[in-house]
Subunit: 256 residues, 2 copies
DNA sequence: AAGTGGTCTAGACCACCAT
DNA sequence: TGGTGGTCTAGACCACTTC
């Protein structure tokens, strides 16, 4: 008989399973179930939130995928006690990539149009012109990364008009995501070690030729079109790329 | 009335939704739906596989999470045309980390017990003794990475007894996973750039002091206990760490 | 209007675990 | 034995896209 809440809800903001998983996520992050405690059972949540069992289960699916809880048949659902006092930087999802909590961003060179055939090609543009932005990122007053962001010229102009790019910004991709209304659907990242060029060395306060962590990120929209290309050089003593993977996402291989 | 297939199935190998998602995954990787083609609809798959709609949807959930397909209300389900001819190395899941397709592993130093307080501490061991293994990895005859793996001594002995560690091995963590019966449930990875020590330089065929990509991986079991600590140095010209993220796993941030 | 995926409910059977 | 999560079905309503 479908939706049981009676009302036809003009603008149902979110699905119920999503509201529930967010509610539980909030309770988890508040520490209500720290230390690996047991969460309410499905039956209890059905009662508490007035939902069907499948909807409750759907909410748990998300939390399991995020690695926030673990479920054991016959025993219950348990909070994953987040190993350390929550790692300095964990980049396990696109949303986290877009946040970059407590660092400061300072623009070195505002968006301008440049001819850059290589980057234009990476962005699948017809012309060799791209919009380029340069900035560095500080933590505790020390520069730990310098970044160049390449965008399609049209998108660059939109960002300028929206006055979206300034020192208050957290991440460019976040501004792009807002501008495109949440269209960012994927990233390809590449990390490697390179020797600091004189320019990079100066920017990071390092010696020329010193090892530097290099990251290249290509963001895609929902239609698999490249949207933004960001290249960053990180100070190896002030930053390390961290990634946490939980659960087995992917082809569940055969157990022999 | 529950399972509709009549038979009580002594050892149901896998859930139906999992069998279906694997079948579809196989068809996708075979290229049956290359180029962003449309996949069969839910109704068609219900017919074809004799399943209920929810079960078909459950199978699609996994494929969406893996980024293999994308679904559009009112339009259908479409294969994600994997950007390039499938990247050399994409490490987006624990299972992929355990595979490491087409490279050769050659053991430099078989498992032996060592006193190493620091690594023992990382593995949450009581004594400072660990089991240590060293190997390098080749691709096309060229060494691109050298690795040290630290394990609890008991686990190291199990691996030796099982004769699991040899040049035919693909990954150590895979052997450990088999040994523990699929208990590996998480990884924390850290990547950085370091200068090659004489030892590393010799192993990789590089000059001393040259930038090298360094990766540290700590694997956890289902109870959040550290199981294996692997440290690898990669030849920067022969390997780059690649990571592909699809979809938005994680707290769906508020749209303003 | 017909078809698509998105959501939700109600009810069932099962394997597992604690008691 | 009763409770837990895991699986599956049947049927419903909805918003969206395409024709």
């Amino acid at each position: 008989m479908g939706n049981h809440d009676g009302t036809t809800r003009v603008g149902r903001a979110q699905p119920a399973h999503q509201r529930l998983s967010e509610a539980l996520r909030a309770r988890l992050l508040d520490g209500e179930f720290a230390g690996g405690d047991r969460l309410p059972t499905e039956a209890e949540l059905e009662q508490e939130y007035g939902l069907s069992r499948q909807t409750v289960r759907r909410a748990f699916l998300d939390l399991v995928a995020e690695g926030l809880v673990r479920r054991h048949p016959g025993r219950g659902t348990f909070a994953v006690h987040s190993g350390a006092p929550r790692y300095a930087r964990t980049v396990a999802s696109i949303d986290e990539l877009m946040e970059w909590g407590d660092s400061e961003l300072e623009v070195d060179e505002q968006i301008s149009l440049q001819s850059d055939p290589h980057r234009a090609n990476r962005l699948a543009l017809d012309s060799p012109v791209i919009a380029l932005l340069r900035y560095h990122r500080k933590f505790g007053g020390l520069v730990f990364g310098i970044t160049e962001v390449a965008l399609a010229p049209s998108l660059g102009e939109e960002l300028i008009e929206a006055d979206a790019v300034g020192d208050g910004l957290r991440t460019v991709i976040r501004a792009v995501d807002d501008c495109l209304e949440g269209a960012i659907a994927g990233v390809e990242q590449m990390l490697n070690a390179v020797a600091a060029t004189p320019e990079i060395a100066a920017g990071l306060g390092l010696g020329v030729g010193v090892p530097v962590l290099y990251a290249e990120r290509l963001f895609f929209d929902e239609e698999e079109r490249p949207v933004e290309l960001a290249t960053t050089y990180y100070h190896p003593d002030r930053y390390a790329y961290r990634l946490e993977l939980r659960g087995r996402v992917g082809p569940r291989r055969d157990r022999r």
